[in-house]
């Protein structure tokens, strides 16, 4: 196996094992999602019709907030113990390394959300979770890609969890708008899904490269 491929496999395996052996990293955002989902009916009142109407928007906001919880620390741990510099110096192309980290992260945080969608929809009295799950399938990777960029920007910031949220929220609005519209089903959902897919494609092409460039400047 060539050197970059070895390195890619090693990084992917290392990240996977990391999340496998540290369940708190991915269970916490999921637990957060479930708790908040339980809070909404309590706060808004249990009328089924209203909950059903609000479900796509509320669930999407919860997904967004959950991504803000776990992503900012994505590179912080690597910076603290010095391993960021190790994979920085590896023969692995840096955007690919970033992409791998984000992909594994999504596999443990975003994908479970997609799989949980039917359950969450049930909490709001929505029977057909199809549109919601599909919108989350395309949307959570988009959230992760932008979130990774945010994590790189705050690498040296001496601030709490509020700062990444502040930075990322305006940037995530397109995903939120397209995602909720797609989750609602109905006439506009197809357009929304297409727009979401297009935006995801743009992010897939640009975000890993931009994140790598950001890390390069932050490591200097």
């Amino acid at each position: 196996m060539s050197a970059p491929l070895q390195a890619a496999a090693a990084l992917a395996r290392r990240e996977w094992v990391s999340l496998l052996r540290q369940p708190a990293e991915w269970l916490t955002p999921l637990a957060f999602v479930v708790s908040v989902v339980a809070l909404f009916p309590i706060g808004l009142g249990p009328e089924p019709a209203r909950l059903r109407e609000l479900a796509p928007g509320l669930l999407w906001i919860v997904a967004l907030l959950a991504s803000l919880l776990s992503l900012p620390r994505l590179f912080a741990a690597d910076l603290a113990d010095g391993s960021l510099e190790q994979w920085w110096l590896s023969p692995l192309p840096r955007p690919l390394a970033v992409g791998l980290k984000l992909a594994v992260h999504w596999g443990w945080t975003g994908l479970p959300l997609v799989l949980l969608a039917p359950l969450l929809a049930l909490a709001f009295g929505v029977d057909d979770a199809g549109p919601l799950a599909l919108s989350l399938l395309l949307g959570t990777p988009a959230l992760t890609l932008l979130g990774g960029l945010g994590a790189a920007l705050v690498l040296h910031a001496r601030a709490g969890a509020g700062l990444p949220a502040l930075l990322l929220l305006p940037l995530q609005v397109p995903v939120l708008v397209f995602g909720t519209t797609a989750a609602q089903g109905g006439s506009q959902a197809d357009t929304a899904l297409l727009l979401l897919g297009a935006w995801l494609a743009v992010l897939l092409a640009l975000a890993p490269w931009g994140t790598a460039a950001t890390l390069s400047l932050m490591l200097d």
């Binding site: 060539s2 390195a7 496999a9 090693a10 290392r14 052996r21 113990d81 010095g82 510099e85 994979w87």
Partner: protein, 208 residues
């Protein structure tokens, strides 16, 4: 990797070349106009008090930072062991060693990794999670990769002997000697002198 005994330095280009290198940190200049050529077989000991710029220089050599002035030329692959060497708590010692090697594009087998753990005295701890290692053990785990079969020619080591006992310091010195004899070279920082047999070049940073 044989070295010509007659004219060793003229036989091949330098492994590391620094030209008029200058760097600052925190707005404060660290050094400037640094010219240096490191040839195969050279060992360079970078000295200076804390904050003089030793780590900054090493990072420049590795290409992690960009210099304010001047250039760094590296002829080949290098190996960098930083002061914080990138040990993951959740991995075992063996996994870390193999993972780190593979990440650098130099994957090794389990047997080779275990063989590398023996000189650093961690063969018994191979299956232990690194979260439970002591400071000295962590330093030794980081150094184990120097005993793997595939090592690059240029080594950049930041404070390799911190928290090590005398026996381990000796073994590291022997490894460095052997590496230099085989045509490799190394740049390292250290607050204490290493018991090296070969001649060591010195670079002092900061005020004399």
């Amino acid at each position: 990797m044989s070295l010509s005994a007659v004219s060793p330095h003229l036989a091949r280009p330098p492994a590391l070349l620094l030209q008029q290198l200058g760097q600052s940190r925190g707005g404060r200049p660290l050094f400037e106009g640094l010219d240096l050529a490191l040839h195969p077989g050279d060992l360079l000991w970078v000295q200076g008090r804390n904050g003089a710029g030793k780590t900054s220089l090493l990072r420049l050599v590795c290409g992690l930072s960009a210099p304010i002035a001047g250039r760094v030329h590296i002829e080949q692959e290098l190996l960098y062991i930083a002061h914080k060497p990138g040990l993951k708590d959740h991995l075992t010692v063996l996994e870390q060693l193999r993972s780190g090697a593979a990440l650098a594009g130099r994957a090794c087998s389990e047997a080779e990794a275990l063989a590398a753990l023996a000189p650093v005295g961690l063969a018994d701890a191979a299956g232990q999670r690194q979260a439970r290692l002591s400071e000295g053990q962590r330093r030794r785990a980081a150094l184990a990769q120097l005993w793997l079969p595939q090592v690059p020619l240029l080594w950049v080591l930041d404070e390799p002997v911190a928290a090590l006992d005398a026996a381990m310091v000796d073994r590291l010195a022997q490894r460095l000697d052997r590496h230099a004899a085989e045509g490799g070279c190394a740049v390292f920082t250290s607050h204490q002198a290493l018991p090296l047999r070969r001649e060591v070049r010195s670079l002092h940073l900061g005020e004399h």
